[in-house]
């Protein structure tokens, strides 16, 4: 990553940390929620935004991380080890989710990931000894490197440290041969093959790395909620993550954080307004509708999401991605074949 990206990443995390620690429990809760959502969105942006593989199973992958870390720390392991365990199992399951991508493309693969999401949700419900069924696994607050995680405030520093590390790792990854290969695979598998890129290998790496980050995000989500339950990791959550990366801007550098903040904070704000005005029921019903509309609007008018909107407001703004007119991933302007048509 560039020095500028490093400075921005650390700066934003410090700001979030100060807000989360200085403004009381509710602020800490929001900072954690945004950081965890940003991690999940980061992982999905890698898979969809950079590598072009549309996946609807990210919500369940977070679940894998939450259950794994919850069980490990309930068994007495330190939270840091448990989070790592959540990441590793997340990576392993993500590799399975990505397996059909070796053969299927585009919509067909997306449908396969829908099936994976459904299967994982089912497993959360029936693998009783590990998941405690529909009532969910109660997670005792762990200690992370010896620090007890007994409040929202205590989780702020670990969440943000992990967010920064993951963010920098992905930024760096995108400046290696593997990261560049992702971008070519996204545009055209035929071109990628002709260039000598091992397409299956590249996709599998995207799923492994994305799954690891999703598992870590899920582990943190489990610690934040002190519970891992099937309802927390449904297709709705997967859809939320897709909303985040589209609203933030597919395949952009700051997009996952911007999208996560938007999707997490807007409903909170609406709720506060609704409570004040006494119409919270109506407004919360409008939430799904509003996100659905936003996704459609962004896809049509600004596929690069809020990132592009913001960088247009400031000509030398935070939109770090080179400006392009990318459509949806995999849908390049001229999909050129390895030869003539």
């Amino acid at each position: 990553m560039s020095a500028r990206q490093l400075a921005i990443t650390v700066g934003v995390a410090v700001l979030m940390g100060v807000l989360g620690l200085a403004l009381g429990r509710y602020a800490a809760y929001l900072v954690n929620a945004v950081a965890i959502a940003a991690l999940g969105a980061l992982s999905l942006n890698l898979i969809i935004g950079y590598c072009g593989q549309i996946s609807f199973a990210q919500g369940a992958l977070l679940g894998v991380g939450a259950y794994t870390a919850g069980n490990l720390s309930n068994a007495g392991l330190d939270g840091a080890v448990a989070i790592l365990g959540g990441g590793l199992l997340g990576a392993a399951v993500s590799a399975l989710v990505g397996l059909p991508a070796m053969r299927l493309r585009g919509l067909y693969f997306a449908i396969a990931t829908l099936a994976a999401q459904a299967i994982l949700e089912y497993l959360f419900k029936i693998l009783d000894p590990l998941t405690n069924g529909v009532s969910g696994l109660v997670i005792t607050p762990p200690t992370i490197l010896g620090f007890p995680m007994n409040s929202d405030q205590s989780l702020v520093v670990p969440s943000l440290v992990i967010l920064v590390l993951a963010w920098l790792a992905v930024s760096r990854l995108m400046r290696t041969d593997l990261g560049r290969a992702f971008l070519v695979v996204r545009e055209s598998e035929i071109v990628a093959k002709g260039m000598g890129i091992d397409v299956s290998h590249a996709k599998m790496q995207a799923f492994l790395i994305g799954g690891f980050i999703a598992g870590v995000a899920g582990a943190l989500a489990g610690y934040a909620n002190r519970l891992a339950s099937p309802e927390a990791f449904t297709l709705d959550l997967s859809a939320d993550y897709i909303a985040m990366i589209i609203i933030g801007g597919l395949g952009t550098w700051p997009g996952p954080l911007i999208g996560a903040a938007f999707v997490v904070l807007l409903p909170e704000a609406i709720q506060r307004v609704g409570e004040a005005a006494g119409i919270s029921d109506i407004l919360s019903a409008l939430r799904e509708l509003a996100f659905g509309l936003l996704i459609i609007l962004f896809l049509i008018f600004e596929p690069r999401g809020l990132t592009a909107l913001l960088s247009r407001l400031r000509p030398r703004g935070i939109g770090a991605a080179p400006h392009g007119s990318v459509g949806a991933p995999g849908e390049s302007g001229q999909p050129q074949e390895g030869g003539s048509r």
Binding site: A169, T176, Q336
Partner: protein, 250 residues
Amino acid sequence: MALTASDVTIRFGGVVAVNRMALDVLPGEIVGLIGPNGAGKTTFINCLSGTYRPNAGSALWGGDELIGLSPSALLRKGVARTFQNVASLHDLTVLDIAKLGASVRRDRRFGGHLLDFFRSERALEAALTESILAPLELTDVAHKPIQTLSYGRRKAVDLARALAGDPQLLLLDEPVAGLTSHEGMAMAKAVRDVRDRLGCAVIMVEHKMDVVMSTCDRIAVMAAGSKIFEGLPAAVQADAEVRRVYLGEP
């Protein structure tokens, strides 16, 4: 090393796109491949570069059989090709594409990616800029995303990608088509320079006859999937059959 392709045949349904095509190329030689639209030139290149698997035929490269190998395996052997239509790859810079071209020579499983993660690319960037981008006049746009470049420059980038892998056999599919005459001249010169520098064998598919005549050591003419003529540039121009089939004379 020399290339000896013989009997290369590929069918699509009922169409025999390439029919018992044979071609020899010596190291340091630029062989032009011309012929009317649909003659099978690109398809023949696709067979040699691993994009298509021909139904029959052989392509020996210093004793190794190339037919049946994947594009990535061929690139590791030094067989590189450029595309007739260049892809517009969003978000990748000129230098990124050159790096991708250079990466194909390295086999990268077993933790290689992890090493990449910690390795600085400064030295690689400097080397690619000097040896690949500068001769193709791409230095000033090295950090530009390629979708911002003109068509001609994107074709130069595609050639840069192929060259970054240190090719020994270079398959060029219409490198000059769609370029301005100035760009075309620069491109043709770049191809000759590469041949002189690397001593590689080159097959160049091209329609622009002036470029073909001034660049190629030998010319093969294809029509309807088969080779109908092969010889020195002057002989090709003099041949009545070629003039009729290709140059459109009665």
